[in-house]
């Protein structure tokens, strides 16, 4: 147990800077320098008419490209955090905001991430003409849409489920809204926030590698990064470079996991609600390493605390002044805020209505009903593939997951590994697989199922492992006692127990599968392009088309895919969730 109770009555040991702080300091400096270097690379000029910036396939450039990709991920993550806090807080506190924000996020979550890419690119390139920054912004925003919704939902959920007695204590001691947020609501949500952030961040790799090679105005633009490096390596047939790129990607994911998420998870353990120590607390060597640095304590005592105290004093003085003023001004302020809110709402609605009208007009003018029917038909074909992936992954990985989950020590190693596989952007490796397809003359209509499964099956495995680990000991012992084995054991204990977890995994996998179809149903190897019949291929094709017909078709295709996801969500997944909650809840 990590005890922090001071030695009874002993004097404080004098802590001072050590060699660890030196390393940290150097590392921070290095980080700042590389951010500056990568950041400057974002604002390079480019000419739309000439050829794209060439991406070198030289292995020595890999660290630079990895850095660029990472920078995009983290900037997008920063925006995701800001959105999470604002939207989650607003939805938790305000009924009207909740009725708008939650359905909005639900729909956005169901939309294919890569459709956004084209929209963003056209918008930002017009915003920053002649500058790479526009394309960068588009890429970053695409990553944002891949990361944010899960985090925002999770934060909202934990805000709403903070224990009532802690809220009562805050009310009783008259904490202001800001104090309540910082002292109660954020710490209470911290653990789930960090878990969700870890999962969501991983979901961004897919978006970032896919968004590094785009077609704008009919021209191929490539952003410097690991994704485009890989595409180039495959395109020029440089197998060694391709292999190095994959290894680099794995290393980057591993490094982010070990240096950022694991330490954060260990730190977040202190925010868990249970008032007992957990049996298997998370461990991180990096966290232990950082704890020995005096730098953090120094910052805490010399920088953070005085600043907070100063801010508090200023606030107190402001409050004292305000207490002398008549109460009427408060009401005026409230009216002003309400009017601003209403105006903003009206403005938002107006924009939305304009957008909807414009989109409808575009579709009406360029797409015929027959075309729409064709798109819907393609959607059903893709639906079949998504179902096939889910079913196959369930059949194959459930036994494996249960096997791993029933052996805790193996599970401890396996779970983080599977998590990493789930984050790895398999679309980087698609060209290689497509090459195999070409060699062995595999029909893409079946082959793309494999491509889709490569990225999304891990969610099912991961959740089934968690479910198997969560089977209560006493139920398992009772089963053993009564001699249950084989199919009766599965039917009576294992399948019902893991059912809720399986639903989470399958729902995530299905959602990821829809996203993956855009990259999987049409893929290239060298100069050969394999195409399957499906909605993903359709969307991918029309994204690269210029002109009004193209954008209208894109809107149509995206809308159809989003509709499929939302409808299946409501009809299938929500009902299964409710059923699982009702029948299989282990309490």
């Amino acid at each position: 147990m990590k005890s922090t109770a001071t030695q009874l009555g002993a004097a404080d040991s004098k802590r001072s800077f050590g060699w660890i702080d030196l390393i940290l300091f150097a590392a921070v400096l290095g980080l700042l320098w590389s951010i500056a270097k990568f950041g400057s690379g974002m604002m390079v000029r480019f000419d739309a008419t000439s050829q794209s910036l060439s991406i070198s396939t030289d292995i020595r450039y890999i660290p630079y490209y990895a850095g660029r990709t990472l920078l995009r991920m983290w900037i997008a993550f920063g925006f995701s955090l800001i959105f999470t806090f604002s939207a989650g807080y607003a939805a938790a506190k305000n009924k009207i905001a909740r009725s708008i924000i939650l359905p909005f996020m639900d729909i956005m979550q169901s939309m294919p991430v890569l459709s956004f890419l084209t929209i963003f690119v056209t918008f930002f390139v017009s915003l920053f003409p002649g500058n790479m920054l526009g394309v960068e912004c588009a890429s970053i925003l695409t990553v944002f849409t891949g990361q944010v919704w899960n985090m925002a939902f999770g934060f909202y959920h934990s805000m709403v489920t903070t224990p009532q007695d802690l809220h009562d204590a805050a009310t009783c001691f008259r904490l202001s809204a800001r104090q309540r947020f910082l002292k109660l609501e954020v710490p209470a949500s911290m653990h789930s926030l960090i878990w969700n952030a870890m999962m969501s961040f991983g979901g961004g790799w897919f978006a970032v590698s896919a968004s590094e090679a785009i077609t704008v105005l009919g021209k191929n633009i490539q952003l410097p990064g690991l994704g485009s490096y890989m595409a180039n390596a495959v395109g020029t047939g440089d197998n060694q470079a391709a292999f190095c790129a994959i290894v680099a990607m794995l290393l980057v994911i591993l490094a982010t996991d070990q240096l950022v998420w694991r330490p954060l998870l260990v730190w977040a353990d202190k925010f868990k609600m249970e008032l007992t120590e957990s049996a298997h607390p998370p461990k991180s060597w990096f966290y232990d390493f950082l704890r020995r640095a005096y730098l953090f304590e120094w910052i805490e005592t010399q920088v953070v605390q005085p600043t907070v105290a100063l801010l508090d004093e200023l606030r107190m003085k402001r409050h004292a002044r305000r207490a002398l003023q008549p109460a009427r001004s408060n009401r005026i302020g409230k009216y002003i805020r309400q009017t601003i809110g209403v105006l903003l709402l009206i403005g938002l609605l107006y924009q939305v209505v304009l957008g909807v009208v414009a989109g409808y007009e575009a579709v009406y003018r360029h797409i015929s009903l027959a075309e729409i029917a064709k798109i819907v038909g393609l959607g059903f074909i893709t639906l079949l593939r998504v179902v096939a992936v889910t079913v196959l992954a369930t059949l194959i990985w459930t036994p494996v997951g249960v096997w791993i989950g029933s052996r805790p020590r193996i599970a401890q190693i396996a779970q983080p590994l599977v998590q990493m596989f789930a984050s790895f952007p398999v679309n980087m490796t698609f060209p290689l697989v497509v090459g195999l397809f070409v060699r062995y003359n595999v029909d893409m209509n079946w082959g793309c199922i494999l491509l889709i499964a490569m990225g999304t099956q891990w969610y099912i495995l991961f959740n089934v492992i968690a479910g198997a680990m969560a089977i209560p000991n006493d139920l398992a012992e009772a089963a053993r006692n009564f001699g249950l084995r084989g199919w009766p054991l599965w039917r009576t204990l294992i399948l019902p127990a893991i059912f809720p977890f399986w639903i989470t995994g399958a729902c995530t996998a299905a959602g990821g599968a829809w996203n993956a179809t855009i990259l999987a149903e049409i893929a290239t190897w060298g100069d050969k392009t394999l195409k399957a019949t499906g909605l993903g291929a359709y969307i991918a094709e029309v994204s690269s088309q210029a002109g009004n017909t193209g954008s209208a078709a894109l809107i149509c295709g995206t809308a159809v895919m989003a509709t499929f996801v939302v409808v299946i969500n409501k009809l299938v997944w929500r009902r299964l969730y409710k059923y699982a909650e009702h029948r299989f809840h282990l309490d």
Binding site: T4, D168, A169, C172, F271, L275, A309, H582
Partner: protein, 457 residues
Amino acid sequence: METATVETPRPTATARRTIVELCHISKMFTVAGGRELKVLDDIDLAIQEGELLALLGQSGSGKSTLLRCLAGLTEPTSGRVLVYDKVHEGINPHASIVFQTFALYPWLTVQQNVEVGLMAKPLSRAEKEAAVNKAIDLIGLDNYHDAYPREISGGMRQRVGIARALVSEPQILCLDEAFSALDVLTAENLRSEVVTLWQQQATSLKSIFMVTHNIEEAVEMATRICILFPHPGRLGLVLDNHLPYPRNPNDPGFQQLMKVIHQTITMQALPDIPPEPPAISGRPVSRARSRMESIPCVPVGQILGLLSILEDNPDLVDIYDLANEIGKDFGETIALVKAAEILELVDTPKDEVRFTELGKKFIIADNDTRQKIFAEQVQKLRLFHIILAYLEVQDEIDEETVLKDISVALPYENPEKILQTMIAWGRYAGLMDYDAATNMVTRPEKPEAELEETKTE
């Protein structure tokens, strides 16, 4: 509302200010399904400086709700709260609460948790630190400044809660069943410390308002005891307690006060009503149950256990002794006895428990006969007629309809708890069943006729 005095010397009354006064407080809650539940009914209560007021009531009597109205956490549906004789809305600045679940923030150390009590006050950092240290010192947590709540025991966590409540120098300390979650020894220790703290007047603390269901705790600590009758919550009795501190439970004055309280609660829960003339025709209605009366929410197993204990200890007659024997607190024991009484298995003259003839038959019978007797008795209860009437006509009835009928018949009870108990009793009696998948109350699986048939085959 009666005021009873006990034969102990009364100190001379001095003019004392009223810190908080609750005038005609009523509180309604909306239960699931849109029904309104009246939890508090027209309560008048005043807390003066220098007193320790205990509010005694069973779980569900609304005492926590009353405390929250007093502290300003909840707005009453009707009535006013007066703070120092002025009408007040919102948080009561002179009151601080100590919670039953401690309500400590797990990510803050002891020192930081106590600081939370001062967050709204305009004090400088040095002043805050001094106040926090003083409070921690007062409550005896001196070396635990940097400990996290998960590292310290339950008793110490509650001390942190008390320190946090005291650090802002309130006039009233509100204890919301503050000792219920602690083990007996720790609770005993903490109780005497709190009383000492109040008496010493080392802080600005003038009065304490505590809600509890533990009668001994109330008599041990309070200078004035208010008993709250449940369903709906209303003030039943106010007692002055002038016993000198420290109080000894074996003291005759203490025992006398306990007896008065026991009798009051028992008389309210198990009134001695003369036997009514039997109903002329139709279904037999049990004696004194011709009105629709609520059933205590007690599982069948506990009723059977009670009968078993009574059988094993024939000289165990007093309800209070019974409570001590089975280790439950007084209110829970009363509920248990009431359940057995409603089923006519025991009789409760005054505050005693005795078997009826039927009860004696029940206790020596085998399982099948017991079920039969139980079923017969349950069918006499008018409350069960609600469900049985439906089941005569149809195979099943949905839960919502039954809940609505129950809430109309018993407006002051929680319909869901009542229904749960009814289903439990009904299942044991073989009169009804419940399908959790469809939320329907159904006829029992094997009606008795079929059972007879299979037996004769």
